[in-house]
Symmetry: C2
Subunit: 73 residues, 2 copies
């Protein structure tokens, strides 16, 4: 993902960390100076590299939260 | 993402749909005949194409749910 400009506006939470130090995180990220969006993605230690992920608006995050709260997990 | 074998074991929920019919969904998906994992990703209408996304184990999904429930959203 070289060349992509991003700014982690807020580190919301770490969902998990694997044995090699990669973390799955939810953050609030501004991509290319655009309005920040929530973002769930894997990161290398120190955020040196990023994996694939998904961005969500606040409305989408609320709906995801609603769905998760209805699930039996 | 041509050539990737996947099976949507369970359609859990639609987080959003945009004006061109693409949906952001949470599903339970088996990739390449492996054990199914939760998956949050964008999909073209009829699941004809998929966008980037993130996979989560059941434990990760529970932790994500816990984080979302602590957030003021």
């Amino acid at each position: 993902m070289a060349g992509i400009k991003y700014n982690i506006v807020k580190e919301v939470g770490v969902v998990s960390e694997n044995s090699s130090g990669w973390t799955k995180e939810i953050n609030l990220i501004s991509w290319n100076d655009r309005a920040p969006k929530y973002d769930i993605r894997d990161w290398a230690p120190g955020h040196e590299k990023m994996g694939k992920g998904v961005t969500l608006s606040a409305d989408e995050l609320r709906e995801l939260k609603r769905i998760l709260n209805e699930m039996d997990i």
